[in-house]
Homo-oligomer: 328 residues x 3
């Protein structure tokens, strides 16, 4: 290997050229001052004004420790055995309780400041809701076990429940959904959505914490799945990557009247929805045992026991193989 021509030696960072470096620093100061001034002028520091927001790190920590409790032994680095399992779970739950209560308190308090509401029992509500969530852990374990078994029952590529718990993004997303949905139903602000967007980033699966989802729910592969706030999904439903259960867009002027109304579809029991299908609208009901083919676009109801699919695509036999640039 030879040194290339035309190159000065690397001057390195600023230290090596002290004069020009301080010039740049001098030019930097007024820019910073201007940005700080802008910040005081506009509403850009809303967040700074309204009490401390929940911490994203704390929320992530809560989710991972809860997952560790819900599936003991899968995600922790230490070895778990029958003797230390109790201590391990007890310690995790005790820590989760403290962190969760504090983050719920912050979420509620932030909302109080924001809407100028009295906030006399934020701390107490934090503890109450954190307790209520932990009380629901056995029920959540029961639900998630059914989700795991339903995944195994329908997926020939799954070797064992271990593999599913350990590595299937669908199970992680549904786990976080079931936690976030509990907090959502207690009217905890901000926190449930932070949880769902965390796992959205990790898995590409975006389940709004307000959605209502039955037992034995399976999301296979999952990237691109969207399930909206007012969607209602029955038992034993299986959906694939890229499926949207969403809302129709609304004109900006009508947003306020629509907020909180049912805007997303109802999916009844035992439905399968293949990859890329889009189902939209609050009045849309997909009847029990329907099979929705991939890439379809549905904005009205489908009766029970129906298959819906795209027409077969057009085939074109090319005259000049290799000339693929002309066609699609």
């Amino acid at each position: 290997m030879t040194m290339k021509k035309n190159h000065e030696a690397d001057p390195g960072p600023c230290k090596t050229d002290a004069r020009s470096c301080s010039d740049y620093r001098n030019r930097l100061s007024p820019i910073i001052d201007k940005i700080i001034a802008t910040c005081h002028d506009t509403r850009c520091h809303t967040a700074a004004d309204d009490g401390q927001l929940p911490s994203r790190e704390a929320v992530i920590n809560i989710l991972h420790r809860l997952r560790d409790v819900l599936f003991p032994g899968y995600f922790n680095s230490e070895k778990i055995d029958p003797v230390n399992l109790g201590f391990h779970v007890g310690r995790a739950l005790s820590d989760v309780f403290d962190t969760l209560a504090e983050q719920i308190r912050r979420s509620i308090r932030h909302d109080c400041f924001k809407y100028d509401l009295p906030c006399t029992d934020c701390a107490q509500r934090g503890y109450e809701y954190a307790l209520a969530l932990l009380e629901a852990v056995p029920e959540l374990q029961n639900l998630l076990e059914k989700d795991v078994l339903a995944t195994l029952d329908g997926d020939p590529a799954a070797r064992s429940t271990d593999e599913i718990i350990f590595s299937y993004p669908g199970i992680f997303a549904v786990t976080v959904y079931r936690i976030a949905n509990r907090l959502w139903r207690m009217d905890v602000p901000i926190l449930p959505r932070m949880m769902s967007e965390y796992v959205h980033g990790k898995t590409g699966i975006d389940i709004h914490p307000g959605a209502t989802i039955g037992e034995r729910f399976v999301i296979d592969h999952g990237t691109g799945v969207v399930i909206g706030e007012t969607a209602v999904i029955g038992n034993n439903v299986r959906i694939y990557q890229g499926v949207t259960i969403g809302a129709l867009s609304v004109p900006a002027g009508r947003i306020t009247e629509i907020r909180g109304k049912k805007r997303h579809p109802t999916i009844e029991d035992d439905v399968i929805i293949y990859s890329g299908a889009t189902i939209l609208g609050g009045d849309t009901v997909i009847g029990a045992r329907c099979v929705i083919g991939g890439n379809v676009w549905i904005t009205s109801s489908v009766p029970a026991d129906t298959s819906v699919m795209l027409e077969s695509p057009r085939l074109i036999y090319r005259k000049q193989p290799g000339d693929e640039s002309e066609e699609p």
Copy 2:
């Protein structure tokens, strides 16, 4: 900025209100006891019972150090030059060997416990398979170089191979696939799937480690791509984001007979598959030099040299511009 009304001073976390805080702690104890009791009653601690599972952190570390070796100088923080390159690569490989052998041992041992098989040579097999993977590094480098060059050849937005290696998620996903596939072919359990799900989370690209993929394979953009366990993909194939090469769903009662059979399509050489196309079924063969248009849904074979595409969509000229809520 003025302090808002109606707000008590922030009481802060529990310390400031000692009595109610200990009340909550007292209520927490029986909840924790109940959760621990549940854990001993059910199979929820399967994992705790079955030897130590592979560590997710170790698996991530293996993948990143291997990537650093496969593309030296791109991903490490220290400066690499011709003098220290050998030491750097040697050190990385030596570390990867130890970690990988241990994680393979854990994977095999976990399976032995799970299915109550004898496990007399788990450690030795860990070392043998780790050695075999490292022996394959030059071949993997050769394959990945071809993948990088094929990406450059077909992407006008790519400025250089550096940019592709450094920032293209498709190359990261294919790198992990080629590593995980080697381990899969040695029948290492759990670990290959952990690898593929790690990179799935990072890139949105879900390639099952059991898939068979030829040379010069390109995934552009990639989010939402799914390639199933028994898919067979030839040389010089290019696929775009949202493409599924998947299986048809099967009734729960027939899962066992189908496990291990070919359930995913064959894609022959020189095929291009545009974004959002879904191709399903173990008997489906997409012939050489086909161009599959975006968003199509294919469940049967397509002969060589064919273009497949959707009919042109319907156009509706609206009477009242702005009234977009009525239509789609």
Copy 3:
């Protein structure tokens, strides 16, 4: 719980079996030597040869600190109040300046080595471009505020701007795009693409830094969105998950002539594009106020005020409910 049969005690890692362990080490050495030799033989250490590449960690740090400045108080762990806000922002900007200047310098210098160009002012250009980016911060804040408000205006599930800033992946992706696009327009190599691929991995939203995007741009949900290098998007455009604004594939032989030409569509003002729609080609113009339905595939222009949608899918009423394996 009982100990299972047929199992030796866990031999643990290599330490417990010293002889076979050193055997494996002895077999490892020639493998490592061979890999190192390969590295010197081929171009596999291109990166090692070309000056130090930008650091991924530094790029991530820049983006997160800039986001903290653009939305003060949302993403930092310490409490921000009106008194410390100025210090906080000042410190962040000063740190960003140093890191950014150094990473720009590395990017430019790497390119100089790569193409054997003279590189006499890499450090100075690093400082100049970093200053220029910071000077643009107030304008970026102004643009991003409009993006946040447009998101709120069109999304009934959004409770507040806080929630949007805090947890919407679309806003994070657009924030990074607006930063990366500034650097792109200064012709900074490598760095802008590293930024866009970082946020692509985090959100599943892939916006090329070269794209031109107007005000009040909204991406809802976002997983799978792809916006190409030469796309031009007007004001007040809203797109959903899985939307591609991309290029037609080109035969490998014509890549060079096409590089840099407009290859991606133009989307005019006030357009809505539903999930999964794919719009391709440099001559394709989607006219103002169009509504593009989900999952359509468009490769030619659409006049203003038009709705485009798929035909209704075919419905099949099944004779034997439960026999879903036959059809889709």
